[in-house]
């Protein structure tokens, strides 16, 4: 199928809006051809993942767009960068790398993006409407945007996100099309124990299992409690988008496109039905841990906040700490949208407890951990998935309570009872 461009698209490609917009639209159009799209559509907003430093090439690309007069056309937020601009010196980059990372972040700000620096833009006021077409990057942001908000985006890679933001255009393909948003796999969770499903720690494990099982297919999960907290859906999606290429999932009776089974399957029978058994989740949970515990049970650090902690998750951390102090490094990653709301009281309480707040970035995207290797515990499925390969550290997965108790004790304190 040949890509049909609008007269407006042709004018932009011919250079009417300057070389940066022309280059951005060339990249959008070539991606559309790669995807087999028949035309481009307008998008209402963008979230940019390309502002994270992976090497000088990304900086040179962003600076080219800026030098050629690029400017975003739609409201655009920025994902994490490689630097904590709120707490300078947290990251252990060489001066050259830090310089290029700073230039990259400055270039994206210069293109007119909002300096949100968070992987949870949906909790920083960027919430497109149900059915709205947008162009988002960052796998967890994409899956949240599609699944929880019901807005429509594909899993846009770095660079397409900014090209879509500059042109306001994206390929008409994939999850922008209603027929591709229908569920094809039914996950029946009704056989799981209510006591397990009531735990926060269940959701990242469910997500890790989902991603590894369904890949990029659209699943509908049935049998979870109604009024599921947003932070649980966020944790589920982030894990699913790490172990698999999940861009959209539905929870029957919870997410906006799944009021009931018939609607989410468009009246057709599921292509596959999987009844969730405790053993499947147990296997997924085991895969989230790579570390073997030393005989003395000592662990080296705790990291939470992937995706970035919400205000409610910070409050849960403070409640768990209950005035106690941690005995090992404890990294809590969040965005400035949350820091701004914490106020002096909660900031002081975290400080007194010995918690290291990380903003604008996180421990798996930039070197923050002080040693080259160690054993870390996290309650994030995404951190658990990526920590070994991006930091060289081993990882253990546990609940928030496991993380807090282990941090206070300086050795692993994991309550396995909820999984039995």
């Amino acid at each position: 199928m040949a890509l049909e461009l609008s007269p407006e698209d042709e004018a932009v490609l011919a250079g009417r809006d300057g070389p940066a917009t022309a280059m951005a639209l060339r990249i959008v159009a070539d991606t559309a051809r790669m995807l087999g799209a028949d035309r481009l559509i307008d998008v209402a907003s963008s979230h940019i993942d390309g502002c994270l430093y992976h090497g000088d090439s990304g900086t040179l690309f962003a600076e080219r767009l800026l030098a050629d007069g690029g400017r975003v056309k739609v409201p655009t937020t920025l994902n994490v960068g490689a630097l904590d601009l709120v707490h300078p010196g947290r990251e252990r980059l060489s001066p050259e790398q830090a310089g290029m990372a700073r230039r990259l972040m400055a270039a994206y700000a210069g293109l007119g993006c909002r300096e949100s620096w968070t992987c949870a833009p949906y909790q920083a006021g960027h919430r497109p409407a149900l059915g709205q077409d947008v162009a988002w990057g960052e796998s967890n942001a994409v899956v949240f945007c599609n699944s929880v908000l019901g807005a429509r985006t594909n899993r846009y890679g770095d660079f397409l996100d900014i090209c879509a933001a500059i042109t306001g255009r994206a390929p008409r393909a994939g999850l922008h099309l209603p027929e591709n948003r229908r569920a094809t796999i039914l996950i029946d969770a009704s056989g799981l124990k209510p006591a397990l499903v009531a735990q926060d720690a269940f959701y990242p494990v469910l997500g890790a299992w989902l991603g590894a099982t369904v890949g990029d297919r659209v699943a509908a999960i049935d049998g979870l409690p109604p009024r599921l907290a947003e932070d649980r859906l966020k944790a589920l999606g982030a894990a699913a988008a790490s172990t698999g290429s999940v861009g959209l999932f539905h929870v029957v009776g919870v997410t906006p496109e799944a009021p009931d089974r018939a609607t989410v399957f468009c009246g057709e029978p599921p292509e596959q039905v999987i009844r969730l058994e405790p053993a499947m989740l147990e296997a997924a949970r085991r895969r989230l841990s790579t570390g073997t515990l030393p005989p003395d049970g000592k662990i080296d650090a705790v990291a939470i906040g992937s995706p970035h902690l919400s205000e409610a998750e910070i409050d849960a951390l403070l409640a768990g700490l209950d005035g106690r102090r941690v005995a090992i490094p404890f990294y809590a990653c969040t965005g400035r949208h949350v820091l701004d709301r914490l106020g002096d009281g909660r900031r002081a309480a975290l400080d007194a407890a010995g918690v290291t707040l990380i903003a604008d970035t996180c421990i798996v995207v930039t070197p923050i951990l002080t040693a080259a290797a160690g054993l870390l515990i996290t309650n994030s499925g995404k951190f658990a998935h990526y920590t070994p390969s991006t930091t060289g550290w081993d990882v253990l997965y546990g609940s928030l309570a496991d993380c807090v108790e282990s941090a206070v004790a300086g050795r692993l304190m994991r309550d396995e009872a909820i999984w039995r």
Binding site: M23, R26, I27, D30, T31, M34, L35, D49, G50, L52, H54, G55, D56, S57, G58, L60, F61, R64, G137, E138, S139, V142, N154, R155, Y156, G157, D158, F159, L160, D161, G211, G215, D216, A241, S242, T243, G244, S245, R287, T290, V364, H385, Y386, P388, S389, T390
Partner: protein, 134 residues
């Protein structure tokens, strides 16, 4: 064997065939081209200059950035053959072309057909997607 050319081009190299899914971000070190996931049997192998065959690509949307960095640094594979289309990797190659840097062919060949090739075999890829043993 004939693959579907997504970004056509010619290439030659030895096969590096993975059995499991790969995320370029978090799975490939952009500074060396080494595979970094300790959970993978190919942990430590370098993808530079190889004909990389992956049944499925997964995970991060930053994979296009890692692809671009590998191309800019001369550490990219000679070609990538993936089991199913992943536009995120292709995007890194498109941007390299816009920047005037080296690019590589990108092909789709179902995982079952990839299994006919083994690690270390030397192959040539033609513009039309034909993969030939040398």
């Amino acid at each position: 064997m004939k693959a579907e050319p997504i970004l056509p081009g010619r290439a030659e190299g030895t096969v590096l065939r993975l059995d499991g899914p790969l995320s370029f971000w978090g799975g490939v070190d952009p500074y060396s081209g080494a595979l970094t996931d300790p959970r993978s049997p190919h942990h430590g192998a370098r993808i530079g200059g190889r004909v990389l065959m992956v049944p499925e690509t997964r995970g991060s949307s930053s994979s296009s950035a890692v692809m671009l960095e590998l191309l800019a640094a001369g550490l990219a594979p000679a070609a990538i053959v993936m089991g199913r289309l992943d536009a995120i990797l292709g995007l890194g190659i498109l941007v390299a072309r816009e920047m005037g840097w080296h690019t590589i062919p990108l092909m789709v060949l179902p995982a079952a057909d990839q299994a006919g090739f083994s690690d270390g075999e030397r192959v040539a890829i033609a513009e039309d997607g034909t993969i030939e043993r040398l």
